[in-house]
């Protein structure tokens, strides 16, 4: 009788240690991260087309075009694998590279505002809409990832599930932080001194 009791007690305590919660939230993170990667990839795929269209109307805006292309190359050089979430340093590098890309793209779009013909181009407008949509998807995917990581990290850190996590080697996972955001949202500098003398600027 007592043996039976002890066996049952063990089964129940094991399921009470949030082992299943760890499993399912870990899997949620993997899915959420895959979606983040997917949307970043989608943006990277759009960039060459955007650069080509802008080139057609504003080829002399070399600086901005080169910046975007470089940012695109840098993003492409980082292996975007699902395993990134387990390596905090690689995660940070990846986010920083994507942040540079975000600001390079927004600078390019800001420059494009000065070219009415470019703005009227159907191809450019479609690309712009796609980029906007993709940026929004990235935001949504990032938020979902942040929430998934939050839930997971709480489970990993709180008692008694932290014991289970320790036993099975689950550690906290990195998330997007405001520090990363700062680099991304830094406003482009306006430099009036080095105004380029061009043939077709402002409208």
């Amino acid at each position: 009788m007592f043996k039976q009791l002890i066996a049952l007690f063990m089964i129940i305590t094991l399921s009470g240690c949030d082992y299943n919660t760890l499993q399912s939230s870990d899997e949620t993170i993997t899915a959420a991260w895959a979606e983040v990667l997917n949307q970043y990839q989608r943006r990277a795929d759009l960039v060459p087309n955007l650069v080509n269209v802008v080139k057609g109307y504003a080829a002399h805006e070399k600086e901005v075009l080169v910046q975007v292309t470089e940012a695109r190359a840098k993003v492409g050089s980082i292996q975007a694998t699902p395993a990134l979430v387990n390596d905090e340093q690689a995660f940070k590098n990846f986010i920083a590279a994507q942040g540079q890309m975000t600001s390079a793209i927004s600078r390019l779009l800001a420059v494009a505002e000065n070219y009415p013909q470019l703005k009227a181009d159907g191809m450019f407008r479609d690309l712009q809409a796609q980029l906007e949509g993709t940026e929004n998807r990235i935001t949504v995917a990032r938020n979902r990832y942040i929430n998934a990581v939050k839930e997971y990290n709480i489970t990993v850190r709180s008692f008694p599930s932290n014991l289970t996590a320790m036993m099975f080697g689950y550690t906290t996972k990195p998330s997007f932080t405001v520090d990363n955001e700062k680099a991304i949202s830094e406003a482009p500098k306006v430099d009036f001194n080095a105004a380029p003398v061009t043939a077709t600027p402002n409208q």
């Binding site: 009788m1 007690f9 089964i11 129940i12 407008r125 809409a129 949509g133 929004n136």
Partner: protein, 284 residues
């Protein structure tokens, strides 16, 4: 009682939090066309509603329209995804819902496109619907006309997509139910063993029956299940256990809780569609 209390606390918390963040609260979803600005006339709303209802009956996809004064301080895209996550327009797993949001005083519009429709309504097309079809109407303050034209175009687009035919409301089984049954089974075994060994088979069975009834009622509230289903399954499990052990069949009482919140079914609601942030925003 317990469940009611939980809802009250949850609602209070929600209200508290929305005032804390000063975000625009997401309106309740009860009909296809929600106008918080009193711009559209009753007839216009009815006409739109009929159109959307017919379309849903024919094609299965859900379209909702929300018109509100402003989404400030939040960006309309951020507000849009919150609405989409709350309303869950579109069928589950097909994710074929579209939400059109018009922030009248902000002069901004947004199309939130469900994941399943991103193929027929990619961002570029969504942008065109907003900018080319609807914006001219909105500029002339013809909101009804703009929404009507936009919705017609959306319907035309979705009709080009092959989607599974609409089906009647499928009864969804609670996800927590099997977990609940497994836990309950172990609880039954343990409690029964304890009480039977302590109090003997007669009184022990009665006591354990009552406690199992009580436990299943409590557990049900955690898993958000119907309390009576839980109590009955608790009792069934108990009886099964008794037969299994070939003790005397002493049916324990299940406790007389008069809880169980019958969920009030609203007129119309989302089918569980998922949104990934696709769509477009526009201003006029």
């Amino acid at each position: 009682m317990l469940i009611k209390l939980r809802y009250t606390v949850g609602l209070g918390l929600l209200l508290f939090m929305t005032t804390l963040w000063a975000e625009v609260a997401i309106p309740d979803l009860s009909q296809r066309v929600t106008d918080l600005t009193a711009t559209l006339s009753t007839e216009q709303i009815a006409a739109l509603d009929t159109k959307l209802a017919d379309f849903e009956a024919k094609k299965g996809s859900q379209i909702a329209v929300l018109m509100l004064p402003s989404t400030q301080p939040e960006d309309i895209a951020a507000f849009g995804i919150r609405v989409a996550e709350a309303w869950k327009i579109g069928r589950k797993n097909l994710d074929d819902g579209v939400i059109l949001i018009v922030a009248k005083d902000d002069r901004k519009s947004r199309l939130e496109v469900g994941r399943g429709l991103e193929g027929v309504i990619p961002d570029a097309i969504a942008k065109r619907v907003l900018a080319e079809t609807m914006r001219p109407h909105f500029k002339d303050n013809d909101y009804a006309g703009g929404i009507e034209a936009g919705v017609s175009q959306l319907i035309g687009l979705i009709e080009g997509e092959t989607l599974p035919a609409p089906s009647g409301n499928s009864s969804d089984t609670s996800d927590g139910f099997d977990t609940f049954l497994i836990l309950l089974f172990f609880c039954c075994v343990i409690i029964d063993l304890i009480f039977s060994s302590l109090l003997g088979s007669g009184i022990g069975a009665a006591v354990s029956g009552i406690s199992i009834g009580a436990i299943s009622a409590f557990a049900a509230s955690f898993f958000a299940l119907n309390i009576w289903v839980a109590v009955i399954s608790g009792l069934a499990m108990f009886l099964f256990l008794k037969l299994f052990y070939l003790f005397g069949g002493n049916s324990g009482g299940g406790g007389s809780w008069s809880g169980g919140s019958s969920s009030s079914s609203s007129d119309w609601g989302g089918g569980g569609g998922d949104f990934g942030g696709g769509g477009a925003s526009d201003s006029w």
